[in-house]
Symmetry: C2
Subunit: 440 residues, 2 copies
């Protein structure tokens, strides 16, 4: 328990003074005494860096050294920990983290894209330089899922990790469900509220959730894989009609990110909208909240639910990493030596085995249902239910009806093959809508 | 990052081979390779102890040294960590932990009563001997709430910690809600299922939840207090009628444990049945599941939900502590130096300020409601609603009716004074039922 660094202050260099950076400054100032007690030594901000020095941030920066170039933080001999809050996959953030590690500085980052895409390379670098690289804030802001998987569940083997990983999508789908309003309409409102970016694609097309899922899977299962092989589908095609029909069937539509251990070297990682049974724990997670559920061989189910973003929660996560470093945390980046991670291939979506919700818009004439059922039968796709609805979707075409189907678990390739054949039927008027059903 | 103990095995002495002890043995055997990787060194069981050596445990114990006396684990020079899984507030568990610390051994315990009642004394001993004392499994089995508060939320100041802390009570109340059956009936069934002990009082009278709450409050707020000052009320008086009326009003009845920071040196700690709005996150936690929600100044709300007991989840928590010790975890027991903990007084229930559900059984005659309302008015108790129900509670007395009242937030002393006066009214036939309402 002897720690030579007790009472020696830990000096930080912080790059990036956006929402999270300012939050870290505020938290370190506000709770200075508590943090010193819990870290066992004072934590001091030595230097900061941001794009614009003169922007009004409502916080006094004059007591910190200012660097115009973030890379200077990596070489300042008075800095013990570089805190990277710049963001972005490559460029300044990547260079800063590499330089900091090369200069034997500990690194704390909130950058999910960086870790998801360069995690293994950085883990190797950090291990060779014997410095910690921590990234609690990179996944789901205020939810300590990294520490939970890396430390609390360290003895167990996880077989499933997943949940609601994107607050923007969850807010939008929650609001669409509550109001019955359409996607574009809700997107505009979400942007006005500041929950979605001006260019919302990273969130609504699922990339943000995929970054988080990749990190969770590497950490939880101990594998490396090709990020581009993760199946990713966003929420742009979710309509109020499907939300409505899903509700009638006892489901809620959410964007989920799911990682499943299949077998030695084979994982399933996917981000997509899903129908969740209304009674399932994730179905009840509403608004901008994130939730992550793990399933382990010994630990069973564990769910963490909280703020996935925001100044205070994310700053708390960044500062937890800093306190860990102050206390002498020496856990490798992936919870195990980087060279213990094995390569895995990811299951392609054609091999998914799930139940599906399908909506067809058909011409209202005899024999259509029989034709559809026959095609499914020929492809060995087993149906759980088929409901022909009254048309409340369109008013301009009285001769069309929506048909909503729910399948049992089927191989996705068989399902897609059936739907291709069904779409070729003259009575099928629109491209079929397919949404996966996520059941325990 | 240099760790002289890397690769040197960590040797355990395990006392107590009940459900959790056997789970720890199984987990350490099953996941040996994973655990070695994550701990950075092998973890070996050197010796074990239990009451009965010859009991069939379906596990091979012959490779471990056997001690008849648990105290021998504390003095065996080959043991690095004593794992106390005996249980009980005093006696063997207490003596073993004290002796282990005196002999400069790290301690891992799953014993909530021991930590709740002797935590400060043990923290002082462990600090003076410079050994870690970890107790993740002592609160809510597989939920890593100790690590979350101590490490993930270390930078923040918590203002509220609470939740569903007892799986037995939650299972019983969930089943009563689902079936409409009575307390005694459900208790018998719960005992048959093994979710309640033959003597169920520790669980159903709230003591178990109070132990957990005391630990969470000391850890989360940084205070010591008199355990006996915690307000504790169990679930014996919860009837299907109240569950039914609560549901009609939009509430679910749960046993909650709540700790709130009031002001410097003043905390509110209480364990009692409560009406939770059906939309609140804790209301949806059903069955034997536990859930704990923290509220911090910066971190906001965070909720952890999972198995509060059981072989696998609890063993995972015990092994997480062991791995932390293997990696060199040096965090003080309460997350801060034991002498940083300040004494706090606990708010007596007369000073609680809550909304209340009240059920009265009254003689069905004119003027009763006016008499009741007048008494509340005289005591400045403001009512939110008053509903006179049809009598479906008793069949033998057609002239009685239940009245269900919901108050706004009031001082509990005023409420109790009113109810005393109301009970003195000749038309009030039974002792009033009072259940606190837990609203955000």
């Amino acid at each position: 328990m002897d720690n030579p660094s007790v009472n020696k202050p830990l000096n930080l260099g912080i790059a990036g003074l956006g929402t999270v950076g300012i939050g870290v400054l505020r938290l370190l100032q506000n709770n200075q005494k508590t943090i010193t007690n819990r870290a066992g030594r004072p934590i001091r901000i030595h230097a900061v860096n941001a794009k614009n020095r003169h922007k009004n941030r409502n916080i006094d920066l004059t007591t910190f050294k200012w660097y115009e170039d973030p890379l200077d933080l990596a070489t300042d001999p008075d800095i013990d920990v570089v805190v990277e809050l710049i963001g972005g996959t490559n460029g300044a953030a990547y260079e800063l983290v590499c330089e900091a590690i090369k200069n034997k500085k500990a690194v704390v980052t909130a950058n999910k894209a960086l870790i998801a895409l360069h995690g293994n390379e950085l883990a190797k670098m950090a291990a060779s330089q014997n410095v910690p690289l921590l990234f609690e804030a990179a996944v789901a802001g205020g939810i300590p899922i990294i520490k939970t998987i890396k430390e609390a569940l360290a003895a167990d083997r996880l077989i499933e990790i997943g949940g609601i990983l994107n607050g923007t999508c969850n807010y939008m789908l929650t609001t669409m469900t509550r109001t019955g309003r359409g996607f574009e309409d809700i997107l505009k409102e979400t942007q006005q509220l500041g929950y979605a970016e001006a260019d919302p694609s990273t969130d609504i097309d699922g990339l943000d959730a995929a970054h988080k899922l990749a990190i969770l899977a590497s950490l939880g299962f101990g594998y490396t894989f090709n990020f581009k092989d993760i199946f990713v589908e966003g929420i742009r095609n979710i309509s109020p009609h499907d939300i409505h029909y899903a509700q009638e069937l006892g489901y809620t539509i959410k964007l989920v990110g799911m990682a499943q251990y299949h077998s030695e070297n084979k994982l399933e990682l996917r981000v997509h909208p899903a129908l969740l049974p209304q009674s399932s724990p994730l179905a009840r997670v509403n608004g901008v909240i994130n939730a992550i559920r793990t399933k382990g061989e010994f630990s069973g189910y564990l769910m963490l639910e909280g703020a996935g973003a925001g100044e205070g929660p994310t700053a708390t996560a960044v500062c937890a990493d800093i306190i860990d470093i102050a206390r002498g945390n020496t856990i490798p980046m992936w919870g195990t030596d980087w060279n213990e991670l094995r390569p895995a291939t990811l299951v392609p979506n054609s091999d998914f085995n799930k139940a599906y919700y399908i909506r067809l818009i058909v011409e209202d004439k005899p024999g259509v249902v029989a034709d559809i059922a026959t095609i499914f039968k020929e492809n060995n796709v087993s149906l759980r239910s088929l409901l022909q609805h009254k048309n409340h979707m369109t008013t301009d075409s009285e001769n069309t009806v929506p048909i909503v189907l729910v399948t049992h678990k089927n191989r996705e390739s068989s399902l897609l093959k059936s739907l291709k054949a069904i779409y070729d039927l003259p009575a099928i008027l629109e491209k079929p809508i397919i949404i996966r059903i996520e059941e325990p």
